[in-house]
């Protein structure tokens, strides 16, 4: 339970942090909710940790031009309790509030979570449904990629050597939209066995806009475009929802572990997709 020796740096600003990370030998420490347990078990033994805890400008949550920009080291608690996020991007607040337990939410950060890219993490479902953008910074400059390009595979992201997540950009939700995140939780770890995020808008009695993101089912979270297409243009009746939710697992190479077999996961994905869509529809006006 004691990690191997490592160097520790705690830079005070972003440029210092990026300079320390530039050579690729250091590992970023954000909330440490995944990294520290791995280090204690000696499964991970980074030689140098760069702690972003003191880089305060990475923590801000602000509104800008129809978007909400969430700093990478905003904790899950910062996000779930932010009046701005709760009011203008409730789906993200809902996802944040369903992560792990109180301790994890107080320490864990959104940037750390997506950079770790656990296939069962909660955020990716919502971020995919929100078509979020990820702003990436390094000593060489900045770039912004869509969340779909960012999540490459299980535990693998588009981040290159020396790059960190700077902020996550999500749209301000229109007032008439309905959103929901429904998760089948694995009680011991708090991770999702499956988690489904849905956003819908109605217009003239019809479902005019649907976005569905699914986590936990496959090696990486994905957008269920098949479900979206089937529901769009319908009246959003219970039968329409069931019909759309039924295709969520189509083509997905489902994960299998001690807690849930692949076929069980596929079945649960359908159930939780229907629940998320039903609740989102009931919240949309």
């Amino acid at each position: 339970m004691i990690p191997q020796n490592f160097e520790y740096s705690a830079p005070n600003n972003l440029n210092e942090a990026l300079a320390l990370l530039a050579d690729g030998n250091a590992k970023v420490l954000a909330g440490g909710m995944s990294l520290i347990p791995l280090m204690k078990l000696r499964l991970a033994a980074p030689e140098h940790l760069v702690d972003l805890g003191r880089v305060t400008d990475l923590k801000s949550i602000r509104e800008e031009g129809g978007t909400i920009r969430v700093g990478a080291t905003a904790t899950h608690y910062d996000i779930e309790s932010s009046p701005l996020v709760r009011g203008k991007c409730p789906l993200l607040a809902e996802a944040a509030s369903s992560i792990g337990d109180v301790q994890v939410r107080n320490m864990g950060t959104i940037g750390g979570s997506i950079a770790h890219a656990d296939p069962a993490a909660d955020y990716p479902a919502s971020l995919l449904a929100l078509e979020a953008q990820v702003r990436i910074a390094s000593a060489k400059g900045e770039r912004t990629v869509g969340i779909e390009q960012f999540l490459v595979d299980a535990l693998t992201t588009a981040l290159d050597t020396g790059e960190i997540v700077r902020e996550i950009i999500v749209p301000v939700e229109p007032a008439n939209a309905g959103v929901s995140y429904q998760k089948m939780v694995q009680p011991a770890s708090g991770f999702a066995i499956v988690g489904v995020a849905a956003r819908v808008r109605k217009s003239g009695g019809k479902v005019a806009f649907v976005r569905v993101g699914v986590t936990g089912l496959a090696a990486k979270a994905f957008r269920a475009t098949g479900v979206e297409k089937l529901l769009e243009g319908t009246t959003g009746s219970a039968a329409d929802v069931q019909k759309a939710a039924a295709v969520v697992s189509d083509g997905a190479d489902a994960n299998s572990d001690l807690h849930a077999s692949a076929s069980y996961r596929q079945q649960m994905a359908k159930v939780y997709t229907a629940r998320a869509l039903t609740q989102a529809l009931s919240r949309a006006s």
């Binding site: 995944s34 791995l38 499964l43 770790h116 296939p119 997905a252 994960n255 299998s256």
Partner: protein
């Protein structure tokens, strides 16, 4: 843990069979392979460094090829252990011609134990699939290049073949 899947290699079965047993090719395509040396008939010693996210594991072990029926099928037995745990895999590879390429189907069982299995149970299946997919993608790219170099007029397929069971 049971694993299975299918991939396509852009070369005929005879060549695919050769490639799948060529230690140099295998060492190039298996993610993290640092050393693969012949120690006996159809038996190899290997050293691998697996890096998945923050987790790093050094494995040392053996690869054995058995039940050979060229160019249709063979059995691959892999054993390895390191500080973070051990793994033992046994898989049957079946090759079938899908002119001008080859469909490779694998089916087998992998046992993982030690610390890595204790804490990483949730991620084992996913990780195994990724490692296998990377191997076949790289092998297909290698095979494609070789095929183009040897018989350019015959091979019209691009080097990068998409695996049939990808997400």
């Amino acid at each position: 843990m049971k694993i299975s899947g299918s991939y396509t290699l852009p070369v005929p079965p005879e060549r695919a069979y050769e490639l799948l047993q060529d230690p140099e090719v295998l060492a190039r395509c298996m993610p993290g392979t640092e050393r693969l040396a012949k120690i006996g008939l159809d038996e190899y010693e290997m050293k691998m460094k697996m890096v998945i996210s923050a987790v790093q594991g050094l494995f040392a072990g053996k690869v054995r090829i058995a039940d050979q029926k060229p160019p249709e099928q063979f059995r691959l037995i892999v054993e390895g252990s390191g500080k973070v745990g051990f793994m033992r895999g046994d898989g049957l590879l079946t090759l079938s011609s899908a002119s001008p390429s080859t469909d490779v189907h694998y089916e087998g069982e992998v046992h993982v134990g030690g610390v890595i299995a204790g804490v990483g149970q949730r991620l084992l299946d996913t990780t195994a699939k990724i490692v296998i997919r990377k191997f076949f993608e790289k092998l297909a790219a290698n095979a494609g290049q070789a095929a183009q170099a040897v018989a350019a007029p015959l091979s019209t397929q691009p080097p990068e073949n998409s695996p049939s069971d990808s997400d």
